[in-house]
Amino acid sequence: MCGFAGYFGPVREPDALLRRMVGSIAHRGPDEQGIFVSPEAGLGHARLSIVGLADGQQPMSDASGSLTIAFNGEIFNYVELRDELRAKGRSFRTSSDTEVILHLYDEMGEDCLSRLNGDFAFAIWDARRHRMMLARDRMGVRPLFYTQKGGTLYFASEIKALLDAPGVTAELDPIALDQVFTLWAPIAPRTAFVGINELEPASVMLVENGRTTIRPYWSLEFPAADARPADESNSVEELRELLTDAVRIRMRADVPVGSFLSGGLDSSLVSAIAARMTPESLKTFSVSFDSPEHDESAFQQEMAAAIGSEHRTVACRDGDIARVFPDVIRHAERPIIRTAPAPLYSLSGLVRDSGIKVVLTGEGADEVFAGYDLFKEARVRRFCARQPGSRMRPHLFRKLYPYLPGLQQQSVEYLAAFFGVGDATLNDPLFSHRPRFKATSGAKVFYSEALRDTLKGYDAAEDLASRLPRAFTTWHPLNQAQYLETRFLMPGYILSSQGDRMAMAHGIEGRFPFLDHRLVEFAAKLNPEQKLKGLSEKDILRKAAGDLLPTNIRERPKQPYRAPDSQAFTGRGDLGYVGDCLSEDNVASTGLFNPKAVTKLRQKCRAPTSGFRDNAAFVGILSTELWQRSFVQQNRHKEKAA
């Protein structure tokens, strides 16, 4: 696990450029750095040593010197692939997974991607063909960004490295901001930065003979809703075997592997399987909160005791989120509308301080096995829409959200209205996500006139809808909702802002057994009722958990991971930068939001009753202003200094 940067095309002082770019992402790879420079292209690498500690230095070239790779991530099936390649007569100079990719590319060219089971982003410079290849893993665990300037392609694991390239500047993309304020994340390849793109998950970019092509090498697909259902007889056993193997190959490392433990089904299951494979006590890590509605400590401790793990907890107390939030935005590199990444940033710090570099997590299970409340909500909305006048059916919305007191007190009529039961269009491809998009969009009331003019005519939700695959309309509604979560929100927000970026800020590698593509493909073929049975989420996963978990962990309803939002910035969290960023002068100078409205919002959020929209707006505006300060203003200072 590491970070890399590089270029293809003419540059001045390539050594200094690469060292500067890699220096900007040194947190991703604190163990060592290396660069490779040729007349046409260059690669730089910051290494976090996990596999092949002594001989896995990068950038790495093959024996002929014609292929060179810079690689971030892990190939979990590298042992099997290496055995295959050896059987074909290939010899290896190192014990690393990096060399396996080089050999496989030499054998198969870009088709090698189909053989890789892992979380990866890499660049291979093929001097024979004068070709640069960039590739990214199927689910979008590892990041890869690029931009073109003056006929040169620059690329890097994080955008901050690209800002070191000549002529590349930081400017907020208003469309991306509107996507965040609607969908929670920019739609790839767009990023928050004008002119800087992200390589989409499961994609490969080839730059050769002056031509750039980008194409997907894998896609998430579901069976048609009217297709004959798959044989269910062995599916629980098959799932347990697949998950066990996904954990097993993710335990491969030349350093100890720990595990996050939230106290929910997913991370508990992963930890339980990992504990059985760890000769000594598995090290597990959790976040606890002062606020009872966010805290899951009791479940975490119960689970740690059940598997005999060596357990450590980072307490997220009053003021802690605000203290780290500027760093969170610096690492996330985008505005966000939730504070949830902040406790994970602190948790990764605890992991690092405990001497662990690699952690397993339960992330991905909610997308793959339909765990989110949103999936249940969409089902209830369809149920209500069949009898729009029903006074009984909307009661189910209360059952879905026991942790939202504002909703519990609503009348049946209001519940139906808030969830759009009366005006729901069942054939709308975004049916499942409309209430979320609408609630989030409420925060746009704070846009400045200038931003509204810029965005006139743009509709982020319709933009998203236009990118759906042709077969989408033939899928079961649950699978449609899962696709939207898995293909867009998961890489765009969960795996980046909450995942890779928060972990890598502390040089920690997260591994995600539920995102093993074999498991993802298996789950996609399941009968939707095996995932969401009535209103019981992740049904097949609970069955597969069997005796691995204590009953009340296995059977407990999902508690969504949440953190205090605007409340995190009151009291002890009301730090100086909050007032500076949200001051009328600052808000007016950045020009994106209405300064007087922001002042009123800040006053309102001091009361404990602020709702979803106000919270999303507060965090969204604060993070946007921090983003401006961290990138745009700093970039200007750098330009002036130069």
Binding site: G406, E413, Y414, F418, D423, K438, A439, K596, F612, R613
Partner: protein, 87 residues
């Protein structure tokens, strides 16, 4: 009386839910929910405002969109309650 009440309701909505953005204020008969003006927390803020400003009691059964989902409906609801008290 009605126009004055409507003005007060409009002002409350603009100040509390639109943070002073008069340009986004919905028409008197436009749905506050469909236009994204209020969420579930805001409904309770609206009820508190009506009770405190007009001195009327709003029962749970009154808290339905038919009474509260537009400026015009809120106004009509208040008039009916005030009228009932006066009678």
């Amino acid at each position: 009386m009605t126009e004055m009440t409507k003005n007060e309701i409009r002002n409350f909505i603009v100040e509390s839910f639109l943070f002073g953005d008069t340009a986004s204020a919905p028409a008197d008969d436009a749905s506050l929910i469909e236009n994204g003006v209020i969420d579930s927390t805001a409904v309770l803020e609206l009820v508190a405002f009506i009770e405190e400003r007009y001195g009327i009691a709003v029962s749970d059964a009154d808290i339905v969109p038919a009474n509260l989902d537009s400026v015009a409906r809120i106004d009509a609801f208040i008039q009916s309650k005030v009228g009932a008290v006066a009678a």
